[in-house]
Subunit: 273 residues, 2 copies
Protein backbone atom coordinates (compact mmCIF):
# COMPACT_ATOMS: atom_id res chain seq x y z
CA UNK A 1 0.00 0.00 0.00
CA UNK A 2 1.31 3.39 -0.94
CA UNK A 3 -0.05 6.73 0.18
CA UNK A 4 0.55 10.46 0.16
CA UNK A 5 0.54 10.85 -3.64
CA UNK A 6 2.16 14.16 -4.37
CA UNK A 7 -0.66 15.37 -6.62
CA UNK A 8 -2.91 15.76 -3.61
CA UNK A 9 -0.72 17.97 -1.50
CA UNK A 10 0.79 21.46 -1.59
CA UNK A 11 4.15 22.33 -3.14
CA UNK A 12 5.52 23.33 0.25
CA UNK A 13 4.48 20.02 1.77
CA UNK A 14 5.99 18.14 -1.18
CA UNK A 15 9.34 19.79 -0.50
CA UNK A 16 9.15 18.85 3.18
CA UNK A 17 8.33 15.25 2.31
CA UNK A 18 11.42 15.13 0.07
CA UNK A 19 13.47 16.39 2.98
CA UNK A 20 12.06 13.71 5.28
CA UNK A 21 12.75 11.04 2.70
CA UNK A 22 16.38 12.15 2.40
CA UNK A 23 16.80 11.87 6.18
CA UNK A 24 15.22 8.41 6.15
CA UNK A 25 17.51 7.20 3.36
CA UNK A 26 20.55 8.52 5.19
CA UNK A 27 19.54 6.88 8.48
CA UNK A 28 18.76 3.58 6.72
CA UNK A 29 22.14 3.60 5.01
CA UNK A 30 23.79 4.24 8.36
CA UNK A 31 22.19 1.31 10.18
CA UNK A 32 22.24 -1.34 7.44
CA UNK A 33 25.21 -3.74 7.16
CA UNK A 34 28.02 -2.48 4.94
CA UNK A 35 29.11 -5.86 3.60
CA UNK A 36 32.34 -6.54 5.49
CA UNK A 37 34.14 -9.89 5.65
CA UNK A 38 31.64 -12.71 5.30
CA UNK A 39 28.68 -10.29 5.32
CA UNK A 40 28.54 -9.54 1.60
CA UNK A 41 25.52 -11.70 0.72
CA UNK A 42 23.41 -10.56 3.67
CA UNK A 43 24.31 -6.89 3.19
CA UNK A 44 23.45 -7.02 -0.51
CA UNK A 45 20.14 -8.78 0.10
CA UNK A 46 19.15 -6.48 2.98
CA UNK A 47 19.85 -3.38 0.88
CA UNK A 48 17.97 -4.87 -2.08
CA UNK A 49 14.95 -5.53 0.16
CA UNK A 50 14.88 -2.01 1.57
CA UNK A 51 15.47 -0.35 -1.84
CA UNK A 52 15.47 3.41 -2.11
CA UNK A 53 12.62 4.43 -4.41
CA UNK A 54 9.69 4.16 -2.02
CA UNK A 55 7.77 7.03 -0.50
CA UNK A 56 8.83 6.07 3.02
CA UNK A 57 5.39 7.01 4.29
CA UNK A 58 5.96 5.48 7.75
CA UNK A 59 9.22 7.38 8.35
CA UNK A 60 7.38 10.49 7.13
CA UNK A 61 4.64 9.94 9.73
CA UNK A 62 7.34 9.41 12.38
CA UNK A 63 9.24 12.59 11.54
CA UNK A 64 6.08 14.67 11.03
CA UNK A 65 4.91 13.51 14.47
CA UNK A 66 8.16 14.71 16.04
CA UNK A 67 7.62 18.09 14.39
CA UNK A 68 4.02 18.15 15.63
CA UNK A 69 5.34 18.03 19.21
CA UNK A 70 7.93 20.75 18.58
CA UNK A 71 11.04 18.68 17.77
CA UNK A 72 12.91 18.29 14.46
CA UNK A 73 12.85 15.51 11.87
CA UNK A 74 16.54 14.72 12.45
CA UNK A 75 15.81 14.12 16.14
CA UNK A 76 13.98 10.89 15.28
CA UNK A 77 16.08 9.67 12.35
CA UNK A 78 16.74 6.28 13.97
CA UNK A 79 13.09 5.74 14.90
CA UNK A 80 12.21 6.61 11.29
CA UNK A 81 14.71 4.06 9.99
CA UNK A 82 13.43 1.49 12.50
CA UNK A 83 9.83 1.64 11.32
CA UNK A 84 10.86 1.38 7.66
CA UNK A 85 13.08 -1.64 8.38
CA UNK A 86 10.26 -3.32 10.25
CA UNK A 87 7.81 -2.60 7.43
CA UNK A 88 10.20 -4.04 4.86
CA UNK A 89 10.73 -7.23 6.86
CA UNK A 90 6.97 -7.82 6.79
CA UNK A 91 6.96 -7.37 2.99
CA UNK A 92 9.85 -9.81 2.49
CA UNK A 93 8.12 -12.50 4.56
CA UNK A 94 4.64 -11.79 3.12
CA UNK A 95 5.95 -12.42 -0.41
CA UNK A 96 7.33 -15.90 0.45
CA UNK A 97 5.93 -18.90 -1.46
CA UNK A 98 4.28 -20.35 1.65
CA UNK A 99 2.69 -16.96 2.41
CA UNK A 100 1.32 -14.79 -0.47
CA UNK A 101 3.64 -16.34 -3.08
CA UNK A 102 4.28 -13.00 -4.80
CA UNK A 103 7.15 -12.99 -7.29
CA UNK A 104 7.33 -9.24 -7.92
CA UNK A 105 7.64 -6.34 -5.47
CA UNK A 106 7.99 -2.69 -6.55
CA UNK A 107 8.52 -3.80 -10.15
CA UNK A 108 11.50 -6.04 -9.30
CA UNK A 109 11.81 -9.72 -8.39
CA UNK A 110 10.74 -10.38 -4.81
CA UNK A 111 13.63 -11.08 -2.43
CA UNK A 112 12.94 -14.83 -2.44
CA UNK A 113 12.91 -14.91 -6.26
CA UNK A 114 16.27 -13.17 -6.38
CA UNK A 115 18.12 -14.66 -3.39
CA UNK A 116 16.23 -17.92 -2.73
CA UNK A 117 13.65 -18.82 -0.13
CA UNK A 118 16.01 -19.60 2.77
CA UNK A 119 17.90 -16.35 2.31
CA UNK A 120 14.62 -14.42 2.09
CA UNK A 121 13.52 -15.81 5.46
CA UNK A 122 16.89 -14.80 6.90
CA UNK A 123 16.78 -11.34 5.28
CA UNK A 124 13.38 -10.70 6.88
CA UNK A 125 14.76 -11.91 10.21
CA UNK A 126 17.78 -9.62 9.82
CA UNK A 127 15.56 -6.62 8.96
CA UNK A 128 13.55 -7.12 12.13
CA UNK A 129 16.75 -7.27 14.21
CA UNK A 130 18.05 -4.16 12.43
CA UNK A 131 14.79 -2.34 13.19
CA UNK A 132 15.35 -2.86 16.91
CA UNK A 133 19.03 -1.96 16.59
CA UNK A 134 17.95 1.34 15.05
CA UNK A 135 15.26 1.95 17.69
CA UNK A 136 17.82 1.38 20.46
CA UNK A 137 19.86 4.27 19.01
CA UNK A 138 17.12 6.83 19.71
CA UNK A 139 18.60 8.80 22.62
CA UNK A 140 15.31 9.85 24.27
CA UNK A 141 12.55 7.56 25.56
CA UNK A 142 14.40 4.50 24.30
CA UNK A 143 12.60 1.90 26.43
CA UNK A 144 9.16 3.25 25.50
CA UNK A 145 10.12 3.44 21.82
CA UNK A 146 11.39 -0.15 21.74
CA UNK A 147 8.33 -1.39 23.66
CA UNK A 148 5.98 0.35 21.21
CA UNK A 149 7.81 -1.06 18.20
CA UNK A 150 7.81 -4.58 19.66
CA UNK A 151 4.13 -4.39 20.58
CA UNK A 152 3.13 -3.29 17.08
CA UNK A 153 5.53 -5.75 15.42
CA UNK A 154 3.62 -8.46 17.27
CA UNK A 155 0.30 -6.89 16.18
CA UNK A 156 1.29 -7.09 12.51
CA UNK A 157 2.14 -10.77 12.86
CA UNK A 158 -1.17 -11.35 14.62
CA UNK A 159 -3.00 -9.62 11.75
CA UNK A 160 -1.23 -11.86 9.26
CA UNK A 161 -2.09 -15.02 11.22
CA UNK A 162 -5.74 -13.94 11.20
CA UNK A 163 -5.56 -13.14 7.48
CA UNK A 164 -4.28 -16.57 6.45
CA UNK A 165 -6.42 -18.55 8.86
CA UNK A 166 -9.20 -18.83 6.26
CA UNK A 167 -12.19 -18.94 8.59
CA UNK A 168 -15.07 -16.65 7.69
CA UNK A 169 -14.83 -13.38 9.58
CA UNK A 170 -17.33 -11.05 11.20
CA UNK A 171 -17.13 -7.36 10.28
CA UNK A 172 -15.55 -6.79 13.70
CA UNK A 173 -12.89 -9.42 12.98
CA UNK A 174 -12.10 -7.81 9.61
CA UNK A 175 -11.72 -4.39 11.24
CA UNK A 176 -9.49 -5.83 13.95
CA UNK A 177 -7.37 -7.47 11.25
CA UNK A 178 -7.18 -4.16 9.34
CA UNK A 179 -6.11 -2.37 12.49
CA UNK A 180 -3.32 -4.87 13.03
CA UNK A 181 -2.11 -5.25 9.49
CA UNK A 182 -2.14 -1.56 8.61
CA UNK A 183 -2.73 0.77 11.52
CA UNK A 184 -0.28 -0.85 13.89
CA UNK A 185 2.85 0.28 12.04
CA UNK A 186 1.42 3.77 11.54
CA UNK A 187 0.74 3.93 15.26
CA UNK A 188 4.28 2.77 16.05
CA UNK A 189 5.67 5.39 13.64
CA UNK A 190 3.69 8.22 15.23
CA UNK A 191 4.29 7.16 18.83
CA UNK A 192 8.02 6.68 18.28
CA UNK A 193 8.20 10.10 16.63
CA UNK A 194 6.23 11.74 19.43
CA UNK A 195 8.17 10.04 22.24
CA UNK A 196 11.53 10.52 20.51
CA UNK A 197 10.64 14.18 20.00
CA UNK A 198 9.89 14.68 23.68
CA UNK A 199 6.10 15.00 23.38
CA UNK A 200 3.94 15.03 26.52
CA UNK A 201 1.95 11.87 27.37
CA UNK A 202 -1.19 13.65 26.09
CA UNK A 203 0.49 14.48 22.79
CA UNK A 204 1.71 10.90 22.42
CA UNK A 205 -1.84 9.61 22.88
CA UNK A 206 -3.25 12.22 20.44
CA UNK A 207 -0.77 11.11 17.78
CA UNK A 208 -1.54 7.47 18.51
CA UNK A 209 -5.20 8.26 17.80
CA UNK A 210 -4.29 10.16 14.63
CA UNK A 211 -2.19 7.29 13.27
CA UNK A 212 -4.67 4.57 14.19
CA UNK A 213 -7.40 6.38 12.26
CA UNK A 214 -5.10 7.30 9.37
CA UNK A 215 -4.11 3.65 9.01
CA UNK A 216 -7.72 2.50 8.92
CA UNK A 217 -8.56 5.25 6.40
CA UNK A 218 -5.76 3.98 4.16
CA UNK A 219 -7.07 0.45 4.44
CA UNK A 220 -10.61 1.57 3.51
CA UNK A 221 -9.15 3.56 0.62
CA UNK A 222 -7.46 0.36 -0.57
CA UNK A 223 -10.83 -1.32 -0.27
CA UNK A 224 -12.41 1.48 -2.29
CA UNK A 225 -10.01 0.99 -5.21
CA UNK A 226 -10.02 -2.79 -4.89
CA UNK A 227 -12.62 -4.58 -7.01
CA UNK A 228 -12.62 -7.25 -4.31
CA UNK A 229 -13.65 -4.86 -1.55
CA UNK A 230 -14.86 -6.49 1.64
CA UNK A 231 -17.33 -3.69 2.38
CA UNK A 232 -18.28 -2.37 -1.09
CA UNK A 233 -17.23 1.03 -2.48
CA UNK A 234 -19.86 3.19 -0.79
CA UNK A 235 -19.27 1.79 2.67
CA UNK A 236 -15.47 1.92 2.17
CA UNK A 237 -15.65 5.60 1.15
CA UNK A 238 -17.85 6.66 4.03
CA UNK A 239 -15.70 4.75 6.51
CA UNK A 240 -12.52 6.28 5.08
CA UNK A 241 -14.08 9.74 5.46
CA UNK A 242 -15.12 9.13 9.05
CA UNK A 243 -11.67 7.83 9.96
CA UNK A 244 -9.97 10.79 8.27
CA UNK A 245 -12.17 13.17 10.25
CA UNK A 246 -11.20 11.37 13.45
CA UNK A 247 -7.52 11.55 12.49
CA UNK A 248 -7.72 15.30 11.86
CA UNK A 249 -9.62 15.88 15.10
CA UNK A 250 -6.83 14.18 17.04
CA UNK A 251 -4.36 16.83 15.86
CA UNK A 252 -6.01 19.72 17.74
CA UNK A 253 -3.95 21.21 20.53
CA UNK A 254 -0.48 19.86 19.70
CA UNK A 255 2.43 22.13 20.66
CA UNK A 256 4.23 21.92 17.29
CA UNK A 257 3.45 22.18 13.59
CA UNK A 258 0.99 19.49 12.43
CA UNK A 259 0.69 20.77 8.83
CA UNK A 260 2.26 17.73 7.19
CA UNK A 261 0.14 15.29 9.19
CA UNK A 262 -2.98 17.25 8.20
CA UNK A 263 -2.02 17.30 4.53
CA UNK A 264 -1.34 13.56 4.55
CA UNK A 265 -4.80 12.86 5.93
CA UNK A 266 -6.57 15.34 3.60
CA UNK A 267 -4.60 14.21 0.54
CA UNK A 268 -5.78 10.69 1.18
CA UNK A 269 -9.39 11.73 1.34
CA UNK A 270 -9.12 13.92 -1.80
CA UNK A 271 -8.43 10.83 -3.88
CA UNK A 272 -11.69 9.08 -3.12
CA UNK A 273 -14.21 11.92 -2.86
CA UNK B 1 22.73 -27.96 21.46
CA UNK B 2 22.21 -28.64 25.13
CA UNK B 3 24.68 -28.09 27.90
CA UNK B 4 25.16 -28.09 31.64
CA UNK B 5 24.20 -31.73 32.17
CA UNK B 6 23.45 -32.16 35.82
CA UNK B 7 25.79 -35.12 36.27
CA UNK B 8 28.78 -32.85 35.85
CA UNK B 9 27.97 -30.30 38.50
CA UNK B 10 27.54 -30.09 42.27
CA UNK B 11 24.26 -30.66 44.11
CA UNK B 12 24.22 -27.07 45.30
CA UNK B 13 24.69 -25.79 41.77
CA UNK B 14 21.94 -28.12 40.53
CA UNK B 15 19.52 -26.57 43.00
CA UNK B 16 20.46 -23.07 41.89
CA UNK B 17 19.97 -24.00 38.23
CA UNK B 18 16.48 -25.27 39.08
CA UNK B 19 15.74 -21.95 40.74
CA UNK B 20 16.95 -20.04 37.67
CA UNK B 21 14.83 -22.22 35.42
CA UNK B 22 11.73 -21.51 37.50
CA UNK B 23 12.33 -17.77 37.19
CA UNK B 24 12.81 -18.11 33.43
CA UNK B 25 9.58 -20.09 33.03
CA UNK B 26 7.66 -17.53 35.06
CA UNK B 27 9.06 -14.59 33.06
CA UNK B 28 8.37 -16.37 29.77
CA UNK B 29 4.79 -17.07 30.80
CA UNK B 30 4.38 -13.41 31.72
CA UNK B 31 5.56 -12.00 28.39
CA UNK B 32 4.00 -14.53 25.99
CA UNK B 33 0.51 -13.88 24.52
CA UNK B 34 -2.33 -15.24 26.61
CA UNK B 35 -4.68 -16.10 23.74
CA UNK B 36 -7.29 -13.34 23.93
CA UNK B 37 -9.83 -12.55 21.20
CA UNK B 38 -8.42 -13.46 17.80
CA UNK B 39 -5.03 -14.38 19.30
CA UNK B 40 -5.73 -18.01 20.15
CA UNK B 41 -3.81 -19.61 17.26
CA UNK B 42 -0.73 -17.45 17.63
CA UNK B 43 -0.66 -17.80 21.42
CA UNK B 44 -0.93 -21.57 21.21
CA UNK B 45 1.78 -21.85 18.56
CA UNK B 46 4.13 -19.45 20.38
CA UNK B 47 3.77 -21.40 23.62
CA UNK B 48 4.24 -24.70 21.80
CA UNK B 49 7.45 -23.37 20.23
CA UNK B 50 8.90 -22.19 23.52
CA UNK B 51 7.89 -25.33 25.41
CA UNK B 52 8.84 -25.76 29.03
CA UNK B 53 11.10 -28.80 29.31
CA UNK B 54 14.40 -27.31 28.14
CA UNK B 55 17.39 -26.52 30.30
CA UNK B 56 17.14 -22.82 29.51
CA UNK B 57 20.90 -22.59 29.40
CA UNK B 58 20.94 -19.05 27.94
CA UNK B 59 18.64 -17.65 30.65
CA UNK B 60 20.85 -19.45 33.18
CA UNK B 61 23.96 -17.71 31.79
CA UNK B 62 22.07 -14.40 31.91
CA UNK B 63 20.98 -14.80 35.55
CA UNK B 64 24.32 -16.25 36.67
CA UNK B 65 26.04 -13.24 35.08
CA UNK B 66 23.82 -10.86 37.05
CA UNK B 67 24.80 -12.73 40.24
CA UNK B 68 28.47 -12.55 39.22
CA UNK B 69 28.23 -8.74 39.34
CA UNK B 70 26.44 -8.72 42.69
CA UNK B 71 22.78 -8.56 41.60
CA UNK B 72 20.03 -11.18 41.89
CA UNK B 73 18.57 -13.57 39.33
CA UNK B 74 15.13 -11.95 39.59
CA UNK B 75 16.67 -8.60 38.64
CA UNK B 76 17.20 -9.81 35.08
CA UNK B 77 14.11 -11.98 34.62
CA UNK B 78 13.01 -10.11 31.46
CA UNK B 79 16.45 -10.21 29.89
CA UNK B 80 16.51 -13.95 30.63
CA UNK B 81 13.13 -14.40 28.93
CA UNK B 82 14.29 -12.26 26.00
CA UNK B 83 17.31 -14.41 25.20
CA UNK B 84 15.26 -17.61 25.39
CA UNK B 85 12.57 -16.19 23.09
CA UNK B 86 15.22 -15.13 20.61
CA UNK B 87 16.89 -18.55 20.72
CA UNK B 88 13.57 -20.27 20.13
CA UNK B 89 12.73 -18.06 17.14
CA UNK B 90 16.00 -19.18 15.51
CA UNK B 91 15.08 -22.85 16.11
CA UNK B 92 11.59 -22.41 14.59
CA UNK B 93 13.01 -20.81 11.45
CA UNK B 94 16.00 -23.19 11.21
CA UNK B 95 13.62 -26.17 11.12
CA UNK B 96 11.63 -24.84 8.13
CA UNK B 97 11.53 -26.95 4.94
CA UNK B 98 13.51 -24.36 2.96
CA UNK B 99 16.14 -24.23 5.72
CA UNK B 100 17.19 -27.44 7.55
CA UNK B 101 13.89 -29.24 6.82
CA UNK B 102 13.76 -30.83 10.28
CA UNK B 103 10.44 -32.41 11.21
CA UNK B 104 11.14 -33.11 14.88
CA UNK B 105 12.36 -30.79 17.64
CA UNK B 106 12.77 -31.85 21.28
CA UNK B 107 10.95 -35.12 20.53
CA UNK B 108 7.82 -33.40 19.19
CA UNK B 109 6.77 -32.29 15.69
CA UNK B 110 8.57 -29.12 14.60
CA UNK B 111 6.39 -26.01 14.65
CA UNK B 112 5.97 -26.05 10.85
CA UNK B 113 4.89 -29.73 10.94
CA UNK B 114 2.26 -28.98 13.56
CA UNK B 115 1.00 -25.52 12.52
CA UNK B 116 2.00 -25.27 8.84
CA UNK B 117 4.85 -23.49 7.14
CA UNK B 118 3.28 -20.01 6.92
CA UNK B 119 2.33 -20.05 10.60
CA UNK B 120 5.81 -21.26 11.53
CA UNK B 121 7.38 -18.29 9.74
CA UNK B 122 4.97 -16.01 11.60
CA UNK B 123 5.59 -17.74 14.95
CA UNK B 124 9.33 -17.17 14.55
CA UNK B 125 8.67 -13.54 13.64
CA UNK B 126 6.43 -13.16 16.70
CA UNK B 127 9.06 -14.73 18.98
CA UNK B 128 11.67 -12.24 17.81
CA UNK B 129 9.27 -9.34 18.48
CA UNK B 130 8.46 -10.80 21.90
CA UNK B 131 12.16 -11.05 22.68
CA UNK B 132 12.54 -7.31 22.19
CA UNK B 133 9.32 -6.62 24.09
CA UNK B 134 10.82 -8.54 27.02
CA UNK B 135 14.19 -6.79 26.75
CA UNK B 136 12.46 -3.39 26.79
CA UNK B 137 10.99 -4.31 30.19
CA UNK B 138 14.41 -4.51 31.85
CA UNK B 139 14.44 -1.39 34.04
CA UNK B 140 18.19 -0.78 34.06
CA UNK B 141 20.45 -0.21 31.03
CA UNK B 142 17.54 -0.78 28.66
CA UNK B 143 19.07 0.85 25.56
CA UNK B 144 22.34 -1.06 25.93
CA UNK B 145 20.48 -4.32 26.55
CA UNK B 146 18.28 -3.90 23.47
CA UNK B 147 21.28 -2.87 21.34
CA UNK B 148 23.23 -5.95 22.46
CA UNK B 149 20.32 -8.28 21.75
CA UNK B 150 19.75 -6.72 18.30
CA UNK B 151 23.43 -6.90 17.42
CA UNK B 152 23.68 -10.57 18.34
CA UNK B 153 20.32 -11.38 16.71
CA UNK B 154 21.85 -10.05 13.51
CA UNK B 155 25.01 -12.07 14.13
CA UNK B 156 23.04 -15.31 14.39
CA UNK B 157 21.32 -14.60 11.07
CA UNK B 158 24.69 -13.83 9.51
CA UNK B 159 26.05 -17.15 10.78
CA UNK B 160 23.09 -18.96 9.24
CA UNK B 161 23.53 -17.19 5.88
CA UNK B 162 27.19 -18.30 5.91
CA UNK B 163 26.19 -21.84 6.89
CA UNK B 164 23.78 -22.32 3.98
CA UNK B 165 25.89 -20.57 1.38
CA UNK B 166 27.63 -23.82 0.46
CA UNK B 167 30.99 -22.43 -0.56
CA UNK B 168 34.04 -24.19 0.88
CA UNK B 169 35.25 -22.41 4.00
CA UNK B 170 38.65 -21.66 5.44
CA UNK B 171 39.25 -22.64 9.07
CA UNK B 172 38.91 -18.94 9.93
CA UNK B 173 35.54 -18.77 8.16
CA UNK B 174 34.32 -21.85 10.07
CA UNK B 175 35.38 -20.31 13.38
CA UNK B 176 33.69 -17.03 12.53
CA UNK B 177 30.52 -18.95 11.66
CA UNK B 178 30.75 -20.86 14.97
CA UNK B 179 31.14 -17.59 16.84
CA UNK B 180 28.03 -16.19 15.21
CA UNK B 181 25.84 -19.25 15.33
CA UNK B 182 26.65 -20.25 18.89
CA UNK B 183 28.65 -17.72 20.85
CA UNK B 184 26.61 -14.69 19.87
CA UNK B 185 23.54 -15.63 21.92
CA UNK B 186 25.70 -16.65 24.89
CA UNK B 187 27.40 -13.27 24.69
CA UNK B 188 24.05 -11.48 24.52
CA UNK B 189 22.83 -13.50 27.53
CA UNK B 190 25.89 -12.65 29.63
CA UNK B 191 26.05 -8.98 28.63
CA UNK B 192 22.32 -8.44 29.23
CA UNK B 193 22.65 -10.10 32.63
CA UNK B 194 25.72 -8.03 33.53
CA UNK B 195 24.24 -4.73 32.33
CA UNK B 196 20.80 -5.45 33.80
CA UNK B 197 22.50 -6.33 37.07
CA UNK B 198 24.38 -3.04 37.18
CA UNK B 199 27.85 -4.41 36.46
CA UNK B 200 30.73 -2.02 35.74
CA UNK B 201 31.90 -1.66 32.12
CA UNK B 202 34.92 -3.82 32.99
CA UNK B 203 32.69 -6.55 34.41
CA UNK B 204 30.47 -6.43 31.34
CA UNK B 205 33.50 -6.93 29.10
CA UNK B 206 34.82 -9.76 31.29
CA UNK B 207 31.50 -11.57 31.05
CA UNK B 208 31.39 -10.95 27.31
CA UNK B 209 34.75 -12.69 27.05
CA UNK B 210 33.58 -15.55 29.29
CA UNK B 211 30.48 -16.15 27.18
CA UNK B 212 32.25 -15.86 23.84
CA UNK B 213 34.72 -18.55 24.90
CA UNK B 214 32.06 -20.72 26.54
CA UNK B 215 30.02 -20.64 23.32
CA UNK B 216 33.00 -21.70 21.23
CA UNK B 217 33.85 -24.44 23.74
CA UNK B 218 30.27 -25.77 23.40
CA UNK B 219 30.59 -25.73 19.62
CA UNK B 220 33.88 -27.64 19.75
CA UNK B 221 32.31 -30.08 22.19
CA UNK B 222 29.53 -30.63 19.66
CA UNK B 223 32.22 -31.25 17.09
CA UNK B 224 33.92 -33.72 19.44
CA UNK B 225 30.78 -35.83 19.78
CA UNK B 226 29.81 -35.37 16.13
CA UNK B 227 31.15 -38.06 13.77
CA UNK B 228 31.12 -35.39 11.09
CA UNK B 229 33.50 -33.10 12.97
CA UNK B 230 35.02 -30.31 10.92
CA UNK B 231 38.27 -30.40 12.88
CA UNK B 232 38.55 -34.02 14.03
CA UNK B 233 38.16 -35.22 17.64
CA UNK B 234 41.63 -34.40 18.94
CA UNK B 235 41.66 -30.89 17.59
CA UNK B 236 38.08 -30.31 18.78
CA UNK B 237 38.99 -31.47 22.32
CA UNK B 238 42.11 -29.37 22.59
CA UNK B 239 40.30 -26.31 21.28
CA UNK B 240 37.41 -26.87 23.68
CA UNK B 241 39.89 -27.07 26.55
CA UNK B 242 41.70 -23.89 25.50
CA UNK B 243 38.41 -22.00 25.18
CA UNK B 244 37.20 -23.27 28.57
CA UNK B 245 40.44 -22.08 30.17
CA UNK B 246 39.94 -18.66 28.57
CA UNK B 247 36.33 -18.57 29.80
CA UNK B 248 37.41 -19.38 33.38
CA UNK B 249 40.23 -16.82 33.28
CA UNK B 250 37.73 -14.10 32.33
CA UNK B 251 35.87 -14.64 35.62
CA UNK B 252 38.71 -13.42 37.82
CA UNK B 253 38.01 -10.22 39.74
CA UNK B 254 34.24 -9.99 39.44
CA UNK B 255 32.46 -8.36 42.38
CA UNK B 256 29.80 -11.06 42.83
CA UNK B 257 29.56 -14.84 43.03
CA UNK B 258 30.73 -16.54 39.81
CA UNK B 259 30.36 -20.10 41.10
CA UNK B 260 27.62 -21.13 38.70
CA UNK B 261 29.44 -19.72 35.69
CA UNK B 262 32.56 -21.61 36.74
CA UNK B 263 30.68 -24.87 37.21
CA UNK B 264 29.01 -24.51 33.81
CA UNK B 265 32.38 -24.16 32.11
CA UNK B 266 34.05 -26.96 34.10
CA UNK B 267 31.06 -29.28 33.66
CA UNK B 268 31.35 -28.88 29.95
CA UNK B 269 35.01 -29.77 29.96
CA UNK B 270 34.50 -32.78 32.25
CA UNK B 271 32.41 -34.48 29.57
CA UNK B 272 35.16 -34.59 26.99
CA UNK B 273 38.35 -35.17 28.99
Amino acid sequence: MEAGDKEDISAECKARLEGFKAIAESALDEVMPKGGEGDAVLAEAVRYAVGSGGKRIRPVVCMASAIAVGAGAEDVRYAAAAIELLHNYTLVHDDLPSMDNDTVRRGRPAVWKKFGEANAILVGDALQALAFAAAARQPRGTAQIVAELADKALGVVQGQVEDIDGREKTVEAVERMYARKTSDLFVAAAVMGAVGGGGSPGEVEALRRYAFNLGLAFQYEDDFFDGDSVFGRDVARSRAKARTDDALAALEGLSGDATVLKELARGLLARIL
